[in-house]
Amino acid sequence: MKTKILAVPYIIWMIIFTIIPLGLVIFFAFTTQSGKFTFSNIVAMNDYLDVLFRSIEFSVIATVICLLLGLPVAYLISRLARGKQGTMLMIVIIPMWINFLLRTYAWMTLLEENGIINRFFGLFHLGPFNLINNSGAVILGMIYNYIPFMILPLYSVMTKIDENVIEAAQDLGCSGFHIMTKIILPLSKQGISTGIITVFVPSVSTFIISRMLGGGTNDLIGDIIESQFLGNSYNPHLGSAMSLVLMVIVLLIMSLFNQFGSEEAVI
């Protein structure tokens, strides 16, 4: 009984800040402004399917790239001496100490037509290149902002892999590549699926990155939802419906992923 009492504060927190808001979202999604039940908000989603698919496409690409970049980085860090591991993790984490908006603004000044990168190329009479206001810049923003969430869970499982097990694999004939595919990846499965979820979920619902780096032509579902609550097209009923649909889609993708996750994770 006593241990159950300890859970009460969290349960109250959950009810106030998760269950009730979720109920409100569902309520708004299925009602009109006058409070009558309707499916019209959900049906209205049809107009935004392209945005929804773009959001999913961008975040899948960003997640895959984060995974491909994160795997070797996490592995290398996990094999460093203990002291150096801390320093390297610090370097991974430090950007997260800086405000999200500021980080994204920094990318704007780097990528702009007369930004730092183009000016650098200009020295060699190259460019200017069109680096910003396109889908690539949005995906880059997602990768930059969320890759620590890939590296950290990968690192935490990889650091638990016994060095002896890797040596045993080498001893039995594994080259570097086979050590990765036959030992490291299977033993990192848990970290891979955690990393994919922690990168994919915030990516698919992000809204500021696309507006700052996408130049208004690459709006994501997050931007549309935001504008239903704060923008000119104020309509919390439609915004709630969109949130709900996005949530259901994310849940479906996640459960599908968990179903086939084991095979996918091994590549």
Partner: protein, 347 residues
């Protein structure tokens, strides 16, 4: 002519400026059971890791069948290792653990299956194929580790204190089993241990190491009966090490008395270590003994009693099937052939 399969030449290994191996030379004879024996930190595991390819030398070279393999990575060497903490693959079942090396060699499934079966039979684990390694006892995991290495039919099997984590009874059984496997398969075993009894039981050749230096190489009988220095004598079995003076060939003074011995070739009046095994000291009535002492303690050890006898400033360890009472005065005699004379260490 004995065929040397592995030859280590002038191997030096440094860790953070500290010399772990101090220029050692070691030849390992094909099809022998060779044990590297020594206290922890003596360099025995480092030596094994050099052969396995996991440890780079600062200088020196390694030959395998007269071919220089110093720079060859581990996965290309014809040796396999049984690791100290088993190092089984936690994500694979027993069959896949054992088949791991064969699958990498891209053998046919059918051949892999027969070879895994043969090996499971060898280590008495038939029927365990589908089990997870987490469901096995320490002894069974050890067998899987041995099978996983042996199934590749290596020319040389390296074993790094493989029985260290097992209880005494199981360890004794595995010692005999390992020796049988080695003789049945006729491959070279290089075995690292700090347990002198294990080394004496199983080996054809024992290499005693200390402080990054090979102290003595020989058969178990040689090492036990003719230790080269006081370290080897002390490490292999129990020993009393007494300061003595070699008066002339076959005559040594220690414990206030002169003794006839069988050693010669020392300088006259050279200071020496006299090594006497506890079981070689005979307890006799006081007047018949060459050395007189007081029994300080008696411990029952099963097969024999172990007594500590205080005499001429030393505490003598004596093993006997009979025992004297604590506090009684006894005489001790030693046969000439049981007195081992050694140069002082460091000379």
């Amino acid at each position: 002519m004995e065929n040397i399969i592995i030859s280590l030449k002038d191997a030096i290994v440094d860790f953070d400026g500290e010399q772990i191996l101090k220029k050692i030379n070691l030849d390992i004879v094909d099809k022998q059971f060779v044990t590297l024996l020594g206290p922890s930190g003596c360099g025995k595991t480092t030596t094994l890791r050099i052969i396995g390819g996991f440890q780079q030398m600062k200088s020196g070279s390694l030959f395998f069948n007269n071919k220089d393999i110093t720079k060859l990575p581990p996965h290309k060497r014809q040796v396999n290792t049984v690791f100290q903490k088993y190092a089984l693959f936690p994500h694979l079942n027993i069959y896949d653990n054992i088949a791991f090396g064969l699958k990498l060699k891209k053998l046919k499934d059918k051949e892999i299956k027969t070879r895994v079966q043969e090996t499971l039979e060898l280590v008495n684990l038939i029927g365990f194929e589908k089990r997870s390694i987490h469901s096995l006892s320490g002894g069974q995991q050890q067998r899987v580790a041995i099978a996983r290495a042996l199934v590749n039919r290596p020319k040389v099997l390296l074993l790094d204190e493989p029985l260290g984590a097992l209880d005494l009874k199981l360890r004794k059984e595995m010692q005999i089993e390992l020796k049988n496997i080695q003789q049945e398969l006729e491959i070279t075993f290089v075995y690292v241990t700090h347990d002198q009894e294990e080394a004496l039981t199983m080996s054809d050749t024992v290499v005693v190491m200390n402080d990054g230096i090979i102290q003595q190489i020989g058969t178990p009988v040689d090492i036990y009966n003719e230790p080269k220095n006081a370290f080897v004598a002390d490490f292999i079995g129990d020993s009393n090490i007494i300061d003595g003076i070699m008066r002339k060939d076959f005559l040594v003074d220690f414990a206030g008395n002169s003794f006839t011995c069988v050693d010669s070739g020392f300088e006259n009046d050279e200071l020496v270590d006299v090594v006497i095994r506890p079981e070689d000291i005979k307890i006799v009535p006081q007047i018949q003994g060459a050395i007189t002492g007081i029994v300080e303690s008696v411990i029952f050890k099963g097969v024999h009693y172990e007594m500590i006898v205080e005499a001429s400033g030393y505490k003598w360890k004596v093993q006997s099937t009979l025992h004297e009472d604590v506090g009684s005065i006894v005489g001790m005699n030693i046969e000439p052939m049981d007195i081992h004379i050694m140069h002082k260490m460091g000379n």
